[in-house]
Amino acid sequence: MKNKKDVISGAALQLLGLLVFASSFGIATTSFSQYGATLVPRLVAGTLVLLGTIILFSGLRGHTAAEGEALHKKELIQVLICTASLLVYVLALRRIGFIIMTTLLITVETELLSNWDARRLPIYICIAAVFTIAVYLLFTRLFFLVLPAGILG
């Protein structure tokens, strides 16, 4: 029986190895170029292609036991929401600001991890707001870190 995970990851490693190898031709050369900045990346790229091939074939021949179960649709949605919320957070952080965005992020993530327990939403919002403000004050006042103030600044 095929181990799909090994087949996919083996192919991905081969692709990455090829990408690292191909990109190495764009690296500038210097007087040390004989043993230059391309030497190790090319060696590593070659090893990656080799390892990718071993993993791919081992997956095709079913020589390795499949680890874990495949993701169900619900689990995949949870993962995608988690990653997307983080991405939105990163993109909006500078403009909206740390306090509002982090409060929102903590609330969304708490809801997500509690598998959408809507009854406790007000509690989660309170925890998120208090924690975010405490972290903001601690790091900006005590450790003099510059956190984006955004629309509140």
């Binding site: 007087s31 900045a37 190790v40 990346p41 993993i55 995949l76 708490t110 991890l113």
Partner: protein
């Protein structure tokens, strides 16, 4: 040596440093005790706080976190039957049956006392072995260094996961991420793809935060669908003590497990996660009554808990004397040194001996803090186990963001933690171990630097790699470790179709 030891100890025993060690140990115990939170995560999250501290104070905090993190794992292993850290896996075998029998207090007391003693044993070995190894390492040439690092990488890769190919691939992936930015020796920019923020390469701290913390949040999001009620904690532990007779009966077990733990810790790449299982197996096979193991015997708690703490001192030996990490946590400690502008290695013993003895003192202090904190505040740590992960992890995520921004004062690093969080999650799902990637990320540039220096020195000849004794021995050991792993993999692969056909 005595003068440096006294000065180093005096530096580490300043009021602020004692407080930082105690605080670090307490936070470490909490992170170690809660399954899903790891000592590596605790250190990665607390690293931003060290920016404003001097090097000794930051080491006190980080060592406290490391030691506390490893030691905290026993609490959940005994009370929840879930190891808080991989180093406490074997503790569940006998710890939980004892807790179910109403002997949780005895199991916890044995675990805490022998964790302390195991740690102490390895710190004493570290005190004597590290300077001796550093004396030897001062004479290392780039050929030797390259071969030692290659050995460390292959050992790590071949031992970390179930598949050697995946372990090696994980290590290579870490090296690939380290290629981004300026190349060693000549500073030529590579793999920046025109992104200005990548000119300096991926910063160490956001990478660690992404791999160890953000990936856990994504994993928890996936698992939240099928997580029903979280496992209940046995909160009635009774009296936390063992008798003198029980203690005396464990001395041979303690000595054997301490030696196993320290030796495994010294070997690059395999730390407490392997040491505890090996010590448990050794204790079982040398017992007069091996059948009792697994039913709740003290020997089954003493062996793994002694060994996982003994691995701490062991892992610090290559870190301090060679500048090569023994496990994932010591790899992060190397990063902490770099943040302070210090490169750990043999020269540290001649240039900054006080700092080294401060680190030894901090280790002893953290060990003492650990035993006192775990005995005095055990009930508090047990209560923390009841805080739901869906509350804890999002709060940790917020601190991750602050840590990422703080590492370089730029928002780009928040992208970096997200990127490495996804990478860490995917590697986890596809069965690739994470520690080799971290070691590859840290050791990759060191290996490249020494390889290129060596080749420039030898004018391209590779024969000095085989004629230098240390380098030659290391290359032979590298070949042996790969050969052993290949044999192990073949045996496993042959057994899988057999099992499937049954």
């Amino acid at each position: 040596m005595l003068e440096s030891l006294m000065r180093g100890a005096a530096d580490a025993l300043g009021g602020m440093n004692i407080l930082l060690t105690i605080a670090g140990t307490a936070i470490g115990i909490v992170f170690g005790a809660i399954p899903g939170l790891t000592p590596a995560m605790a250190i990665a999250l607390c690293l931003p706080m060290t920016f404003k501290l001097d090097v000794i104070s930051s080491m006190c905090l980080l060592i406290g976190l490391y030691l506390g993190g490893v030691s905290g794992g026993l609490i959940s292993a005994i009370l929840l039957r879930i190891p808080g850290t991989p180093g406490s896996l074997a503790t569940t075998f006998d710890g939980h049956p004892m807790a179910n029998r109403g002997e949780a207090g005895k199991a916890l007391a044995a675990g805490i006392i022998f964790s302390f003693l195991g740690g102490l044993f390895s710190i004493i070995i570290l005190l004597f072995a590290a300077p001796a190894l550093a004396d030897l390492a001062v004479m290392f040439t780039p050929f030797d260094y390259f071969s030692v690092i290659l050995f460390s990488l292959t050992m790590m890769a071949s031992m970390a996961g179930k598949s050697m190919a995946k372990g090696l691939a994980s290590g290579m992936l870490g090296m690939c991420f380290a290629f981004v930015g300026a190349a060693p020796v000549d500073g030529v920019p590579r793999y920046t793809f025109g992104i200005v923020d990548l000119n300096g390469g991926f910063q160490f701290l956001p990478v660690m935060i992404g791999v160890f913390a953000v990936s856990q949040v994504i994993l928890a999001a996936e698992q939240s669908v099928k997580t029903g009620r979280e496992a209940t904690v046995i909160s009635n532990v009774g009296r936390v003590r063992i008798t003198w007779k029980e203690f005396k009966g464990q001395i041979t077990n303690f000595i054997r497990s301490s030696i196993i733990g320290t030796m495994i810790g010294i070997l690059p790449g395999i730390g407490g996660g392997t040491a505890n299982l090996l010590a448990y197996t050794a204790a079982k096979s040398s017992s007069k009554d091996p059948d009792k193991f697994g039913t709740g015997v003290l020997d089954g708690i003493v062996a793994p808990e002694t060994a996982n703490n003994a691995a701490i001192g062991g892992a610090m030996i290559p870190l301090l004397s060679l500048g090569i990490p023994g496990d994932a946590v010591t790899a992060i400690l190397i990063g902490a040194f770099m943040i302070q502008g210090i490169s750990p290695g043999p020269m540290l013993f001649s240039t900054q001996p006080n700092l080294l003895y401060s680190i030894f003192t901090a280790l002893i202090l953290a060990n003492i803090s650990m035993i006192i904190l775990e005995f005095l505040f055990l009930k508090g740590f047990i209560k923390v186990l009841n805080v739901p992960k869906y509350i804890l992890l999002p709060l940790i995520l917020a601190i991750c963001v602050v840590g990422a921004i703080g590492s370089n004062n730029r928002l780009f690093d928040v992208f970096v933690i997200l990127f490495f969080g996804v990478i860490g999650y995917l590697m986890n799902k596809f069965g690739y171990p994470l520690p080799p990637m971290v070691i590859g990320f840290i050791l990759g540039p060191m290996m490249e630097l020494n390889l290129r220096r060596a080749l420039i020195y030898s004018k391209g000849s590779i024969s000095p790699f085989f004629t230098n004794p240390v380098s030659c021995v290391m290359l032979v050991l590298t070949a042996l470790s790969i050969a052993l792993s290949v044999i192990r993999t073949f045996r496993k692969e042959r057994s899988v179709p057999d099992e499937q056909s049954e």
